[in-house]
């Protein structure tokens, strides 16, 4: 018997998704309560080893193309059915108790929070171009996002981030699992703060025109030729 098969059996009989830490606890507790050398041998299994085993296991299930697969959602491992069997499972166990789907504005705001967290409401509004108060309330009520701190700027505005419930709702392993994360997470090259404080229509134009006038006139030329010295009479 190897570690992989033990982990599979434990996960199969678990009533909830298990994190590597919980799996490790199962192994160490069994080792304590058992006299068998095999059980004893897993007493100090390392997390990295467990994760490697879990990955292999998931891979094996994927290659075997079974009707279920092993996935990691929000850091905990579980067996889930393949989506194509949903119609029959739905008949068996009934509709999943899941809150209603999120609206388009809620999804947009959530996407901004997920990729750019932690961030303030003002920052979200800057990207969306509209107020986010209504959708933020929905997202907070559903526990998908939460306050994660305060920005150390004037007014100390609240910073928001996503919760583990967010990962569970979308079936994500972790935030690094978000699609196209590299592209969306990077801080924009241009800092927009400077632009927000300046009213471009008024602030930039007049000084520019003054500057142009400074270059164009050639006051120096007439002054250059020194007046002919009066004839030495």
């Amino acid at each position: 018997m190897e570690l992989k098969t033990i982990i599979e059996a434990v996960l199969f009989n678990s009533q909830k998704p298990l994190s590597p830490k919980e799996l490790r606890d199962v192994l160490s507790q069994t080792a304590e309560n058992s006299e068998e050398p095999l059980a004893k041998s897993f007493r100090k299994t390392k997390d990295e080893e467990l994760i490697a085993v879990l990955e292999t296991l998931a891979q094996e299930h994927a290659t075997a193309a079974r009707t279920f697969r092993l996935v990691c959602v929000a850091g905990a491992w579980q067996f889930v059915s393949q989506p194509e069997f949903a119609p029959w499972i739905k008949t068996l166990v009934g509709e999943k108790s899941r809150p209603g789907r999120l609206s388009q504005p809620a999804l947009e705001t959530l996407a901004i929070i997920a990729y750019r967290q932690p961030l303030t409401r003002a920052e979200m509004e800057q990207i969306r171009g509209v107020a986010v108060d209504g959708v933020m309330q929905t997202l907070l009520e559903r526990g998908i996002v939460e306050q994660v701190g305060r920005a150390e700027v004037v007014g100390r505005p609240v910073l928001y981030g996503t919760t583990p419930a967010f990962l569970e709702y979308f079936g994500l392993r972790g935030l690094e699992d978000l699609p196209a994360a590299d592209e969306l997470r990077k801080i924009p090259v241009k800092k927009p703060e400077a632009l927000l404080t300046v009213e471009p229509g008024l602030a930039t134009a007049p000084p520019e025109q003054l500057a142009l006038q400074e270059v164009v006139p050639r006051e120096t030329t007439p002054a250059e030729p020194p007046p002919e010295p009066p004839a030495r009479a």
């Binding site: 199969f12 009989n13 678990s14 009533q15 909830k16 998704p17 279920f68 579980q78 067996f79 889930v80 059915s81 989506p83 194509e84 069997f85 949903a86 499972i89 166990v93 999943k96 899941r98 789907r101 999120l102 388009q104 504005p105 999804l107 947009e108 959530l110 996407a111 901004i112 997920a114 990729y115 990207i127 969306r128 171009g129 509209v130 107020a131 709702y169 979308f170 079936g171 994500l172 978000l178 699609p179 196209a180 592209e183 969306l184 924009p188 241009k190 927009p192 400077a194 632009l195 300046v198 471009p200 229509g201 930039t204 134009a205 520019e208 500057a211 142009l212």
Partner: protein, 266 residues
């Protein structure tokens, strides 16, 4: 008119409307003719105003930004504003395009999240059944007739008095509700007869009974029989948002109809 309103609500904001207009032009965001876009955007805002829709302030801010961009474009290239050292930093066109591109990225990301949301609806988690060898407590439904019957048994303890005399209200339903709630806090399940063990009169029994009915209605308690014809048991209802207790009502007024009912049942 209302049909138009529905259409406008499709746009989440000015950026959304701009993206829609860019898409309609079938050009890359970076190559879009902002002057033309400005004209179209403002005609939309005008239309919204004609339709008497509430125009969000953001739309007006965007309209003014676009007007500014458009007015700049009217100047010949060499007369256009160029700020030294910040060639594209202050260019409102670039700023707008950058904002559009960024918004577009997140709109796409929201679309991907939506796909994942829908996909996740079809994913079912395997949960092993809970292993339990204790025989579950059987619970039988109790009907209103069972309850009336039970309270009648209790009432028989008291001789029917000729109640033409007027008593002061010694007991109120809300007091009794409190008493039952307190009792339930101490013990998970209470027998029906225990509720009335300390009752001293018919009125008190009726008031207590009404309090119990009220708690059932408020889903604070549930009643059940463990087997047929056994004594009714009262237990706490599964956790639920706490309902406000009913306003104080004099016992006699509320008790009257039930008392009548009992008389008829007798």
């Amino acid at each position: 008119m209302s049909e138009f309103k529905v259409q406008f609500e499709m746009f989440e904001g000015p950026l959304d409307l701009l993206l829609y207009l860019v898409k309609k032009e079938e050009v890359d965001i970076y190559e879009v003719n902002l002057t033309k876009l400005a004209t179209e955007f403002i005609s939309y805002v005008d239309l919204m105003r004609q339709l008497d829709l509430d125009i969000a302030g953001e739309f007006l801010v965007m309209a003014s930004t676009l007007m500014y961009i458009k007015s700049r474009e009217l100047l010949p290239k060499d007369l256009q504003v160029v700020v030294e050292g910040e060639e594209d930093g202050e260019d409102p066109r670039w700023e707008l395009i950058r904002q559009l591109v960024e918004y577009k990225k997140f709109k796409d990301a929201a679309g991907r999240l939506q796909e994942m949301e829908h996909a996740q609806e079809n994913v079912y988690r395997r949960t092993a059944p809970k292993l339990s060898f204790d025989a579950p407590v059987q619970r039988m439904e109790v009907s209103i007739f069972d309850l009336v019957n039970a309270v009648n048994v209790i009432l028989k303890r008291f001789a029917p008095t000729d109640s033409r005399d007027v008593f002061e209200d010694k007991w109120t339903v809300s007091e009794k509700i409190e008493a039952i709630v307190n009792l339930m806090r101490q013990r998970p399940a209470v027998k029906f007869s225990e509720l009335f063990a300390e009752a001293t009169s018919r009125t008190e029994v009726v008031v207590t009974f009404l309090a119990m009915l009220e708690l059932i209605r408020l889903k604070q308690i549930v009643i059940a029989q463990t087997e047929e014809f056994s004594e009714i048991e009262i237990s706490q209802a599964p956790p639920q948002p706490v309902a406000a207790p009913p306003t104080e009502a004099p016992a006699e007024a509320a008790a009257a109809p039930i008392a009548e009912l009992n008389l008829r049942m007798n």
